[in-house]
């Protein structure tokens, strides 16, 4: 449940009726629309907001306005308001980003922003987005989000930032590129002419030129100062005396003038101003609650009419605020004149907000009143909603403001605090968890324990266990994670689908990491169902992706395919907009199609996924697109391209709770082996600390199988017996583990490798026996690439099998699939070449031999000329030659052509 959006924060302030026209500044703002960003940076009281509302009233473009406050340092809240303010331009804009925001699994800000930017780019009309009071932002995360927004700004959105200090954005760069329009204090302050126009025409004071000059000099054109001065002079006969006294004083302009203004108010109004200065926003009923009187609405209207620094926040004149400067000066007066009153006033405000359903305001005032018991009780009641709305920063900010003893006797707060902390800082989170657990198991003094929310208390032991499971899982303690997640499920009441879903998913991920795929599948499917019941639909697609992954590892390709098909159909029927996660499904489907040998269909899936763009995918899964693309390129024989894509995959990879079953560095090593780069492959095995005598674990299975490949390839080169022996022994152990875990996908690959190892050791009968077992398992699921990717040695072995009548239909199909692969060169290390040529290099070499120029080769192979030259360099190096003619001669010598 997201926290309520305050409409007053999105209100575009209307232009004031009596103002000094400032055509020069308006022109400057209009011209600024051509640039990326308009920055209005000047101290308080320089008329930034007034100028902007003037400008927008006359501007052709529609405008959205967001008044920021301290709470927006929570990046989630900031983004929620960003979406809300954009929806004032066009209903439904940012709906995709909004649904991502509400998903309980935190997404990186960048993917949310990308989703949002994509949606903005579909808006027809140009518009202006104003972020007012940006100086309240201290959180680097929000600055970064904004910098990203500016960098990737769709052309129809023009951003304006109003602030008291320069924001932490790359301003120098924007300035240097002419992408920044700026208005600063020097531009905004009233010129002597404007001061005269304001004082005499707008305020009707009839001052002399000298008096205007003196005021302008004393205030240095500071607009708030001139306004306060004008207010002090209104209705006063002796304006000359006022000007003399004011200009002759050293007192800080604000102090002097607020004093003057307050002195001219009746006592009733003066008291009202001081008492309500504790409020960020003012409404009649709220003011009544704070003052204990009943004239709040009337007083506010009178203040607005009298130009007493109240700013309306809506069209109905229900909410106002004081001009910030004025509010601060009033608050300081309240604190020095009636310091004892402030806590009472804050508490009254807190109660009003509580009864009017605005818990976070109620909490803020309770904290300001120093009434920590009240604050803690309120926080307890809104803890779940705040955390489910993913406003962790807000929640943790409240808890940091509470004294420790208040948290220590409240198990609800203790457990939620631990849960929020543990994903940021494992140690502190765990320490808090231990405190909370003591409260729960009764080892703490029971008479001190305070529980406001009994309902929440029931679920607490379960939530504590979830926190433990998360903690253990993050430390790689799989069995601990399983134990605690199980305990959570035992402890949680049936009617807590959200927490039960979270616990089941954690249990599933732990089982997956442990290699128990069937259990993992069951728990994750259960967890998804619970989350769906709890109303979280966004999880279903990413859940399907995980489930299909598990089925693939189990060798159940057809079922994986069905999961993708079902989820894709659901997603496409369900919504016109692509739901998040759809792009990932296409990537998963591409890998299944590829394994089935349909390269064209696989490419089409990847293309579709690419067209959906980044917003269609979860950013943790982005690397998978590159991995799939790399596999396709490899199947086409372009190993260099495959490697480039894996580098790219590595660049976009982010860690997530999903187990990393195919580490990218191992995928790269497999390509190196293909290229004959065995030194690099051996280095990788050494760096990863891999040995054929390692204990086996599912999470290292892919790496161990890759190690086997390194050993077999080295054996083919070095012919040292122990290499193939070690490989075979490791394979036997891997096979046993994979069979035990029913990971048929791994079993097929291991049997294929056993067959190749036996073949390399010239034990053809054993090779064929292993191959036959692999074929029997693989045929019903339609595996192709697992065999074809092994290249020429596998083709020979399959031919042999076909001759002996082993799986005749299947072997024929597999052998047919080899035809699209270059038979020679790829993977088959040539005895007299230290580093064999790749398939692509051989192709280039053949064209060189036919006398084609680099340009012609590039056209024929659809490559850039520079890429062809790169291949040439590799060919020359591998052949040990320096010229094309020499290369051709040497290749003929070696029988490569």
């Amino acid at each position: 449940m997201p926290a309520p959006i305050l409409a007053t924060k999105l209100y575009v302030p209307p232009p004031r009726t009596e103002v000094v026209p400032r055509p020069c500044l308006i022109r400057h703002l209009n011209e600024g629309l051509r640039r990326k960003l308009t920055l209005i940076s000047a101290p308080a009281g320089f008329g930034k907001s007034t100028l902007l509302s003037e400008w927008l009233a006359g501007c052709e473009w529609p405008a959205a306005w967001l008044s920021l406050d301290k709470g927006d340092n929570d990046p989630t809240r900031f983004l929620a308001y960003l979406v809300a303010v954009l929806q004032t331009i066009e209903t439904g804009m940012g709906a995709g980003a909004q649904s991502l925001l509400q998903s309980p699994q935190p997404l990186p800000t960048e993917s949310l922003l990308t989703a949002l930017l994509n949606e903005i780019s579909t808006v027809q009309e140009d518009f202006v987005l104003v972020l007012d009071d940006y100086h309240v932002i201290e959180a680097g995360a929000v600055d970064e989000a904004l910098a990203f927004l500016i960098d990737h700004r769709p052309p129809q959105m023009h951003l304006v930032i109003a602030t008291r200090e320069d924001p932490q954005l790359p301003l120098a760069r924007l300035r240097a590129r002419g992408q920044l329009a700026e208005l600063r204090a020097a531009d905004l302050r009233f010129t002597p002419n404007e001061a005269a126009m304001f004082l005499n025409e707008v305020m009707g004071l009839g001052l002399s030129v000298e008096e205007v000059g003196a005021l302008e000099y004393r205030t240095e054109g500071w607009i708030a100062g001139l306004q306060l001065a004008a207010l002090s002079m209104q209705g006063r006969r002796d304006t000359t005396g006022f000007v003399q006294a004011f200009t002759g004083s050293h007192r800080f302009v604000l102090d002097y003038l607020v004093e003057e203004v307050l002195q001219r108010q009746p006592d009733r109004v003066r008291t009202f101003l001081l008492q309500t200065s504790i409020l960020d926003r003012l409404s009649g009923p709220l003011c009544d609650a704070v003052t204990g009187l009943e004239d709040g609405s009337r007083t506010l209207e009178a203040l607005e009419r009298g130009n007493l620094f109240v700013v309306p926040l809506d069209d109905e004149r229900r909410w106002y605020r004081y001009h910030h400067l004025f509010a601060e000066a009033l608050y300081v007066r309240l604190m020095s004149e009636q310091p004892d009153q402030a806590p009472t006033l804050h508490r009254r405000a807190s109660e009003w907000y509580e009864h009017n359903g605005l818990p976070s305001e109620a909490i803020r005032h309770a904290l300001a009143a120093g009434d920590f018991g009240r604050a803690a009780a309120l926080i307890e009641l809104s803890a779940r909603a705040t955390l489910m709305g993913r406003q962790e920063e807000t929640f943790m900010g409240w808890l940091r403001a509470l004294p420790d003893e208040e948290v220590h006797r409240r198990p609800v707060l203790g457990v939620y605090y631990a849960l929020a902390l543990v994903s940021h800082d494992l140690e502190t989170g765990e320490a808090r968890l231990r405190d909370a657990e003591r409260l729960l198991d009764g080892t703490a003094h029971a008479n001190e324990v305070v529980v406001v929310d009994e309902e929440e208390f029931r679920a607490l032991p379960g939530i504590a266990a979830i926190t433990r499971a998360y903690h253990a899982g993050a430390l790689g303690d799989v069995s601990g994670s399983v134990r605690h997640a199980r305990r959570a499920l035992d402890l949680l009441p049936e009617d807590e689908p959200l927490w039960r879903g979270a616990a089941a998913s954690l249990l599933g991920l732990a089982h997956w990491a442990d290699g128990d795929l069937e259990a993992a599948y069951r728990f994750i499917a259960d967890g998804m169902e619970s989350l769906r019941m709890a109303g979280d639909a966004t999880q279903s697609l990413s859940g399907a992706f995980i489930l299909a992954d598990i089925r693939t590892a189990q060798g159940r390709l057809r079922e994986a395919e069905r999961i993708y098909e079902r989820a894709l159909k659901l997603a496409e029927d369900h919504d016109e907009n692509a739901p998040p996660g759809l792009a990932d499904l296409y990537v998963g489907m591409a890998e299944v199609r590829l394994e089935r040998g349909d390269l064209e269909a696989a490419s089409r899936c990847l293309q579709k996924s690419g067209e959906l763009g980044e917003r269609g995918g979860i950013s943790e899964n982005r690397y998978r697109w590159y991995v799939a693309k790399s596999r396709i390129e490899r199947a086409r024989g372009d190993l260099d391209a495959a490697l480039d894509l894996l580098d790219e995959a590595q660049r976009v990879y982010v860690r997530s709770p999903d187990p990393e079953t195919r580490p990218i560095s191992a995928l790269k090593t497999r390509v190196w082996i293909r290229q004959g780069r065995l030194d690099e492959a051996s280095d990788w095995a050494r760096e990863r600390g891999l040995s054929d005598r390692d204990d086996l674990a599912y999470l290292r299975e892919f790496e161990h199988i890759t190690l086997v490949r390194v050993l077999i390839a080295r054996y083919k080169n070095e012919r040292k017996e122990h290499l193939v022996r070690n490989a075979t022994e490791l394979l036997d152990r891997l096979l046993e583990a994979a069979e035990k875990g029913r990971r048929t996908g791994s079993v097929v690959e291991i049997l294929v490798l056993k067959a190749l190892a036996s073949q390399a050791g010239d034990d053809v009968p054993d090779a064929l026996a292993c191959l036959a077992r692999a074929l029997a398992l693989a045929e019903p699921e339609g595996y192709i690439r697992t065999f074809v990717d092994e290249g020429v040695p596998m083709a020979r072995l399959l031919t042999e099998a076909a001759n002996r009548g082993i799986a005749p239909v299947y072997t024929e199909k597999l052998l047919a699939a080899f035809d699209s692969v270059p038979r020679r060169g790829e993977g088959e290390s040539h005895p007299s070449l230290a580093e064999p040529l790749s398939g692509r290099e051989l192709e280039v070499l053949r064209l060189i031999a036919r006398g084609l120029s680099n340009r012609e080769i590039s056209e024929r192979l659809f490559l850039a000329v520079i890429t062809v030259k790169g291949h040439n360099r590799n060919i020359f190096r591998k052949l040990g030659v320096r010229r094309r003619t020499e290369a051709v001669a040497r290749a003929r010598e070696l029988g490569l052509l």
């Binding site: 308080a44 200090e165 800080f252 601060e328 020095s336």
Partner: protein, 91 residues
């Protein structure tokens, strides 16, 4: 020689040596215009001294750099022209 130099530079950095790194530092913030004394609490207990030239000095202990920036932000929020912020020896 180098070692002594380095030690010298370090002791210079930490002031007279009578107060360690955990001792609060004293800062003097100069703003333009005479400020009412009632701002004392708002500025976290800084002493307000009015200078004859029309400036105000806010003097007092500052726990750390973050606290100093907090004070400067308050100066900013009042739109007060800041003239200088200096670290001084504690009285």
């Amino acid at each position: 020689m180098t070692a002594r130099k380095r030690r010298g530079a370090m002791s210079g950095k930490s002031g007279s040596g009578t107060h360690g790194p955990n001792q609060p530092m004293v800062y003097e913030i100069r703003v333009n215009g005479h400020l009412d004394r009632r701002w004392t609490d708002w500025f976290g207990g800084m002493t307000i001294t009015l200078e004859e030239n029309g400036d105000t000095l806010l003097t007092g202990p500052v726990v750390d750099q973050a606290a100093l920036y907090g004070l400067l932000r308050k100066v900013r929020d009042l739109g007060m022209p800041l003239i200088s912020a200096t670290r001084v020896e504690p009285p």
